[in-house]
Subunit: 275 residues, 2 copies
Amino acid sequence: MSGLAPHRLSLNTATVREQWNLAEAIEGCARHGIGGICPWRDKLHEMGVEAAARAIRDAGLGVSGLCRGGWFTQTGAVDDAVIDDNRRAVDEAATLGADCLVMVVGGLPEGSRDLPTAWALVEDGLAATLEYARKVGVKIAIEPLHPMYAADRACVNTMRQALDICDRLGPGIGCAVDVYHVWWDPELEEQLARAGKERILAFHLCDWLVPTRDQLTDRGMMGDGVIDIPRIRGLVEANGFEGLNEVEIFSALNWWRRDPDEVLATVVERGRTVC
Amino acid sequence: MSGLAPHRLSLNTATVREQWNLAEAIEGCARHGIGGICPWRDKLHEMGVEAAARAIRDAGLGVSGLCRGGWFTQTGAVDDAVIDDNRRAVDEAATLGADCLVMVVGGLPEGSRDLPTAWALVEDGLAATLEYARKVGVKIAIEPLHPMYAADRACVNTMRQALDICDRLGPGIGCAVDVYHVWWDPELEEQLARAGKERILAFHLCDWLVPTRDQLTDRGMMGDGVIDIPRIRGLVEANGFEGLNEVEIFSALNWWRRDPDEVLATVVERGRTVC
């Protein structure tokens, strides 16, 4: 398989979150020929949703997703505040014309060891958000996070688990597949086939570093770690995915400290050579 | 469910590996009323296998396992050196009368990104070792490690994956279930039922700390983290497990720095109160 041309890439703003605001990231993508963007909501709110939507459109960028909704377990109850916030996220995704709203569902509630209850909260929250998202025409993408985040970020940790939820909730909901979270899974091939084109809503790239010095912020640039990215991209595309290849790298120790134009130039080069 | 009396506990020597040699650990278990021990092989070799077997017997301790065989992917081939070393481990487990030989199967070979090949190496190595272990009468326990160790320690990361291997290899092989590695798994209940009494060969305790500051050596004492240990112990016992509850805590930042008698007293207290 040949590499990815830059117009097939999308920049998740987390990759340069310490260096650029959203306006700068939009300009950076245009300057480097990157085809799309996925804003985080803090950057989006700072710029203003309407202004951001306009600037992204004017720059000719696609919107591979909006990061993020979810966090349904935070208070131990799926209350109005949580649902209202998720509905606002749906509205923002609609305004941006985003391919999906990415859901980081939340881990164990503070002080809890009760995973089954956390799973139930997550499903209730997703169901309530999905009902609204269907009306607005926004797709919901559950992002199964690596199992090392089960306690503190997301208690949905495999494609199988995410798709079981999708099966129960019906149309309009699928998965965001991030190589960092799923690369180890012996069921990945089978579960991507089960997901199919309709439910692979986003595809995220970075790499798994050995050693990993921090569980959240030591992710690698594509090619610097052990993930066989071409294999996973091949599986995703064999199942019909035609969206952008979104680059999301949390890297406090390396890439967040560099010149952001160097980061984007490296993203473009690695897209061509190792993805 | 009431807590665990000390005679139902076993001490994995890793828990006090910075403080005690094997002879001291055996004496420590006897002094604290702990019912068994699981030596690591470096400690065992240092003491001598025969001498250790005698001392453990004299102290009236059970042997919940021997840590560890495996590491089949280290050189990128299941060669004679790897198989010979695993056969020696089987012999040592037999001499000790250990309930099982625990297998940490190995991650990706150096420089490789090829997980399917690593999986195949592991299965070949397990098959070769199992053939010998059956003759000697030693049970082989695959320990699925947390997915965060897939690259550098073990590419078998779920109970489902381990049991799929067991199904293919036949009798004499099962799983070592460590709460640290499996607590997050939404399939845990179903896979423990699938394993059954014959294939739950060991049960390991510690806790998952939030935050986890080091991926290998920041495991918690039972009760200091987020794992619902009574729930998992209940599932293991409901499926017929009657072995010792082995405490294995890698803790460079805390327990390895403490007086080992304080560590064992804490293990005994937490066994009674939170397990």
